[in-house]
Symmetry: C2
Subunit: 229 residues, 2 copies
């Protein structure tokens, strides 16, 4: 998810006083073709042995941490019946996450289901939906919907207020913005003597910690695993 | 979810050759007001003691069974950290379901989060999203989106094809259609000597069986529970 859309969503959530923190669900699936399922490094136990967890699950976990202000969950409990290939690499899996404050999240990731990228965040007072949170439907725009204090009409036959859709434009694609950001961080170290920015490695490390806990929970027969930073 | 929209979605899924069966997620949450949380029969242990599971969970389970052609899951494993009130009635909970053929589903239901009604069904070749599956956003229309064999543009900077939105109109609201259907079933028994139609009680009983299994899983410390018909 590009920073430009993240920023826009954060401003919107703040405007609507949405507390983005009760229930989160994230999905990333795609149908890998037979050649991928046979040859790709992501399905080889001696290469990227984390399979669909390391690929699709990474994005889901990262999006959930974003919704949780990067606060690590207390425990991670993998969902039962992940699918493995004949070498024991994960082709589909999921997990639930539990935080100290009662917040919960789930994700589902798979190489075996049609391309889908959903992030749903439900707080006490609002809901956020985004259905293209990794690669946007269109290169120079991204869409999401928000709802605030949703309810029904008097006769409970329709919603009032209804959720509203938002489109955010960008002049540069997210990949260009990422490279630009990286170059700018390098330049500020080389030319201005700045220290390395810890934002990105911190987020990556937290994502990896949660991902490793999901793997451990699968290996322990779907028992809850504590996330220790 | 009204039958009129169910029928339309089933026709659409069949046209697109979507196999609606790999990964399903359903959410129904609403923010109950303080009076509901104190006085409603749904939060009283000696009245509707199933709480948010019996209310919001019922709709989620029913929608998941619809997506699974009413085939019962093999096992049900409740998600950890449900929220209870001081009388021990569930205010928020969730579960995962596992079928023999590798299909999986999850749901989340709650009295404590903003009104949200999502059903997401992902098959090998297509995806269905509906965000108002219980009460439609508007009384005389309902919306859903479908995607079939989704993929990316050559440079993986956008989707091709994109999901498409659909609006289904109805001349009568779903509540009127339900009463009309019920009256028609009664009339065919009274006037034409027909036998009772088993469709609706069969679906209700299956929903209750799964719901009871979720309750049992919560009581057994989130262990998997077999669903026996």
């Amino acid at each position: 998810m590009g920073e430009w859309i993240q920023n826009q969503i954060e401003v919107m959530a703040s405007d609507l006083e949405i507390e983005l923190k009760s229930v989160v669900h994230s999905i990333f699936t795609f149908t890998a073709d037979p050649s991928f399922l046979k040859n790709d490094i992501r399905v080889k136990p001696d290469l990227d042995s984390l399979g669909a967890l390391g690929d699709t699950g990474w994005y889901c976990i990262r999006s959930i941490l974003w919704a949780a202000n990067y606060e690590l969950p207390k425990t991670v409990t993998a969902l039962r019946e992940p699918i493995f290939n004949e070498s024991g690499v994960i082709l589909a899996c999921g997990s639930s996450f539990q935080w100290e404050d009662g917040k919960v999240a789930t994700f589902q990731g798979s190489f075996l289901s049609n391309l889908t990228m959903d992030l749903t965040v439900i707080g006490t007072e609002g809901t956020l939906h985004i259905n293209d949170f990794i690669i946007p439907f269109e290169e120079l725009s991204a869409t999401f919907s928000t709802a605030s204090r949703s309810g029904f009409t008097d006769l409970v036959t329709a919603w009032n207020p209804r959720p509203s859709d938002h489109i955010v434009m960008t002049d540069l694609p997210q990949e260009v913005r990422m490279v630009r950001q990286f170059a700018s961080l390098v330049r500020s170290i080389k030319e201005s003597g700045a220290k390395p920015d810890n934002t990105w490695p911190t987020i990556s490390r937290k994502t990896q910690l949660v991902l490793d806990a999901v793997k451990a929970s699968i290996e322990k027969g779907f028992e809850p695993v504590e996330v220790v930073s």
